[in-house]
Structures are given as structure tokens and as C-alpha cells.
Symmetry: C2
Subunit: 326 residues, 2 copies
């Protein structure tokens, strides 16, 4: 009996967020879970309605100097180049193959779409998944020289697990590719494919040979970014989140949409202010604006006005990456 009681006491005493320093951010998460899950709370939420949404790039893993999926596209271009000698003369391919970072930083959306078209389309969904799986298990990220999936944020993994332990379903709502993220989401974040909402291209059913396939076409279907995140949430989940986590202007409407519901709502933004341990950008940051994960002064003002909680990576997080765990 004493063993049992000891177990209960330990369970209660266990800190569910050990990588978080004590402060307003950690306290807000704990208070939110208490308010929404204790039966006696006036803001109690039924388990079926407990939904939390997380942006990926810059919120769950490192996005600098370039989004992981953009690195995948560039690596893929390099591999395909020998079959496409014409690329040496033609932008945007020419600049990528020459490693011209200056030119690449000025790529327009249509340049990126052209790169996406040849690296992400013209193959079946199964072929694409195989390419992503090969890349994500071998490619190394700059600066840290580690797998991209090693550069996830330990404190955010703890928040996701803590919410799930309290009956929340955790969704990834990303501007990145839905089919890309689904390849590793379960293993890395504990989020199954059907709980990944992302940007997508058109797929077409083809039944010509042995077995039917879905072919990926070079045509945008859904841009799950900015206002598209509210659209994607309604389309894929059909329920309003109780909590939403982001880090850039592309997450603003997701946080607004979350906050527009009744009861207890938690809106949080990760601020990259730790150039020593990761990168510093956004208000007060040391990096020039690279159009990757822009956290503008206007967004900071909006957060203040709306009561959104800004997470300081420098001050709120004891550790950044799982590999630092003692």
C-alpha cells in the first residue's frame, strides 16, 4: 500500500516540463491544462474537444538558415542535375547548382515553385515518400552537423507529451508540405499522419498498370500558411483548437482563430533570441531578415495587445535539443 501511495506521490511531484525554467511561459501552460481538464473548473473542456495545434518550422524544430524541406529540394536538384544539363544555363536552377547563396536569397515565390515542381512532383506519392525517408534519415543540417530530426526542441516535445497525457490531441499545422512531414511526424513528434495538416499539391488518380497510384502534379492545392492555417484547421479538424503554438507571421491567423473561441485558450509564440545555442532573429535578434520565419515588430506588438505569450528560447528553455539532456 505504501508503495502504491509512493507511486501516486511521485507521479504528482513529477515535473511534466523539466526543460522549462520556471517563469510566465511555463506557468501559463500548467495553468491552462489545469483549467481545461479539472472537472470542477468552470473552463473544463470535454476530452473530445481537446485540440492543440503546433506550427513546425521554428516552433518544433530549427528553421535556419533555410527550412528543412527547402534543403531537401536543393539536395534533390543536385542529384537530378546530371540528367538535366540545361539547368546550368537556366535560373533558378543555375544559381542553386552554382551554390550562389546571394542569388538564392532573392528567389521569388515563383522561383521556389519551379524548384518544387521538379523536386516534389512528377512522381507517385509512394515514390515521394521513399525519397523523403531516405533524405530525412541521412541529410545533416548546417552549423550543427546533425540530422534535421535531432534539431527538434526538447521543451516543445515535453509540451506535446504533457498535453497528450491530459487528453489533448496534438496536431501539426505547418506551411510545409503535408506529405513531407507525415513521413517522420509519428516517430519524431508522436503525431500520426492523419494529425498533420500542411500545404499540399494536387494529386491525380492513375490506374493504368498493375496497381493504382496517386501522381503528384506541379500545381498548388492548399497553402497552409497565414490565413490558410485557419482554413486548414477547419477543413482537416473541423474543431477550433484550445491551444496554438507558432513562431512567425504565418502563424498569426492560427492564433487569432484559436483565441476567437470561448473558454480557456492558450496562444504562444516561440521567440528565437538565443544566438549562442541556436539562432537569434526577430525583434532584437542578430540575424538580418532572411525571409525565413519572420517575427516582425508588428507581430510582437500584436502578441502584447492580444495577450499571447512569447516564449524566450534564451530565458525559458533550460535545454534546446534532446541531445543536451542530462
Amino acid at each position: 500500500m505504501s508503495i502504491l501511495l509512493g507511486g501516486v506521490v511521485n507521479a504528482n511531484a513529477r515535473d511534466p516540463l523539466p526543460s522549462w525554467n520556471d517563469g510566465p511561459a511555463k506557468q501559463a501552460i500548467l495553468a491552462f491544462v489545469k483549467a481545461t481538464t479539472e472537472k470542477s473548473s468552470p473552463k473544463y473542456v470535454e476530452p473530445n474537444d481537446r485540440i492543440a495545434t503546433f506550427d513546425q518550422d521554428g516552433t518544433l524544430w530549427t528553421e535556419h538558415p533555410l527550412y528543412g524541406q527547402a534543403m531537401f529540394a536543393l539536395d534533390r536538384l543536385g542529384k537530378m542535375a546530371p540528367q538535366h544539363p540545361e539547368w546550368k544555363e537556366k535560373d533558378p536552377f543555375k544559381s542553386v547548382l552554382a551554390g550562389d547563396r546571394e542569388a538564392m536569397s532573392k528567389f521569388t515565390e515563383s522561383d521556389w515553385m519551379e524548384i518544387l515542381g521538379v523536386t516534389h512532383a512528377g512522381m507517385s506519392t509512394e515514390e515521394f515518400v521513399a525519397l523523403v525517408r531516405e533524405w530525412i534519415t541521412t541529410a545533416k543540417a548546417p552549423r550543427f552537423n546533425r540530422l534535421y530530426t535531432d534539431l527538434v526542441y526538447q521543451p516543445m516535445l515535453e509540451v506535446m507529451r504533457y498535453l497528450r497525457e491530459n487528453g489533448f490531441r496534438t496536431y501539426i499545422v505547418t506551411g510545409g508540405g503535408q506529405e513531407f512531414v507525415r513521413v517522420y511526424s509519428e516517430q519524431v513528434y508522436g503525431v500520426p499522419p492523419e494529425q498533420v495538416v500542411g500545404s499540399s499539391i494536387v494529386t491525380t488518380y492513375k490506374d493504368e498498370g498493375d496497381k493504382p497510384v496517386l501522381m503528384r502534379e506541379p500545381k498548388v492545392f492548399l497553402i497552409d500558411d497565414g490565413p490558410g492555417k485557419a482554413v486548414g484547421i477547419n477543413l482537416f479538424i473541423g474543431k477550433r483548437p484550445q491551444a496554438a503554438f507558432g513562431n512567425s507571421g504565418g502563424d498569426q491567423q492560427m492564433l487569432e482563430w484559436t483565441q476567437a473561441g470561448d473558454g480557456a485558450r492558450l496562444m504562444m509564440l516561440v521567440h528565437h533570441d538565443d544566438g549562442d545555442r541556436e539562432y537569434a532573429y526577430g525583434p532584437g535578434g542578430g540575424l538580418p531578415d532572411t525571409h525565413v520565419g519572420t517575427f516582425s515588430d508588428a507581430l510582437m506588438a500584436e502578441a502584447k495587445k492580444s495577450g499571447w505569450i512569447v516564449i524566450s528560447m534564451k530565458n525559458d528553455w533550460k535545454t534546446i535539443f534532446p541531445s543536451e539532456k542530462k
Copy 2:
């Protein structure tokens, strides 16, 4: 102890499909569940991968003489007509308001799109949900003079429950409107909103007043029918179903896509051959082709060739509707 054992024996003896006559259809369902859920089975499927998809119209509830959602649209037109005197002179509205069934049976897809545009769009998602909720809880279906949600098929409710009890997640994959079906899917079928995949129109995020809204636009986003069902399944679920249930040509690709996976797969088609208790259409049926739930001779041949199991409503089902239950 004897009470406990008695309970176990009763539980084992309980027929999970009491509204099904014993026959190949019922046996196929029982054999499929055994093959996919018994740990010792060579075709065992992990609980996370147990997915079953169900068409709605004609598979889970009555679709004749016209799809429920089309009836909603026509009712809505009638209610809106006083504010639109010009409709009296202009087709397709004119024919609907005159109750001209002959003309309506010849409506083209573009006629229906025009009706959809004024009845399903030009309002927020919240306004639309409220309209559907009011209609679905009051409107009566022809012939039976009952709520549409009373005309669900008791044997199919039993299959859905039986699959869920065995760890399957049951999805509705409908050519009908995703946002329409989500209004009542949980209460009627036990299927939560996020497990309803359907056709959809474009929504646009608007944040002009007090709270942001999603406005429904008169523009098709996804047609979740025919090949679109395989596309929708990949997009929303990201896993291949182990079992799929349909009743018409619009379900063919869903069944093909399901069958193309490895291991045990169950593909079933409901055949409406019971004019006394419901409607008889499709091969051998008594109704002329009304373009509602077409089960062609070619589909019947495809089912035979592919080993899909055709459910005879007349012979396989003891009861059709829940109200007949003893």
C-alpha cells in the same frame, strides 16, 4: 466466479451483427475482423493502421429519390425565394420553385452548382452549420415521412460499431458536403467531425469585425467522388484503408485503392434490391436510372472480377432501419 464466467461466455456468444442474416456477406465481415485483429493471424494489423472507410449516401442512409443534401438545397431555395423574385423567371431556380420534377431530373452539373452557390455559399461556416442543424432535425424524407437521420441502415451501424470495438477507426468518405455531414455524423454514426472526408468548397478567412470568420465561397475546392475518394483518403487520412464500403460507381476507386494494399482487405458494395422495404435500383432493380447512386451492370461485373462482396439488402439484412428493431 460463476457470474464472471457467465459474463464472459455471454460476451463471446453475443452476435455483433444481429441485423444481418447469416450468409457470405456477414461471414466475410466476421472473417476479416478475425484475420486482422488476432495476434496470431498472419494478416494481423496494428491498431494504429486499422482504418475503415464508408461512403454515406446509399451506403449508410437512404439516397432516393434524391440525396438528402440536395433536398436541403431545394428546401433552402424555397425559403429564400421571397427575397429573389427574379428566380421565378430564371432556370434552374424557376423549375425548382415550380416543383417541376421532370425538368429537375434533367439538371446538369452546372445547374446544381448554381443552386449550390446560393444555398451553400455566401455565408460563414458558423451560419451554414446552424442552417444544416435546423434542417436535419426537422425535415422529413419522402415516402417514409421520417427524419433523414432515421433512415440510416441498422446493419451498417452494427458494422461500424463492431469495427470500432475491434480497434478500427471508422471514416465517412462521401461525395456529399464535408461540412454538411459533420453536423450530425457524431450523433448519428458515432463518427467525429475530423473523421468525415467529403466534398468541399473554398473558404476564405475574414477578420473585419469582432471575431474572424471563414466565409464559404461559391467555388469548388475538392470533389470527393470517384477518383477523388482515393485522393481524399490520402489527403485526409494519409493511410490506406483496410476495409471500404460503398454502393455506386462513385465508390469504385475507393475500393480499388483499398484493395491495392497488402494483407487482408475487405471491399463491399450495398445493392439496393429491396423495393418493398426501401428502394430497388441498379442491376435487376425496378427504378429507372435517376442518376442517384448508380450501380451499373459494369460495376457488378467489376465486383465479381475483383472479389468485392455485394450486400443484398433484401437477403442479407433482417432489418433496414433502426425503427424496425424488435
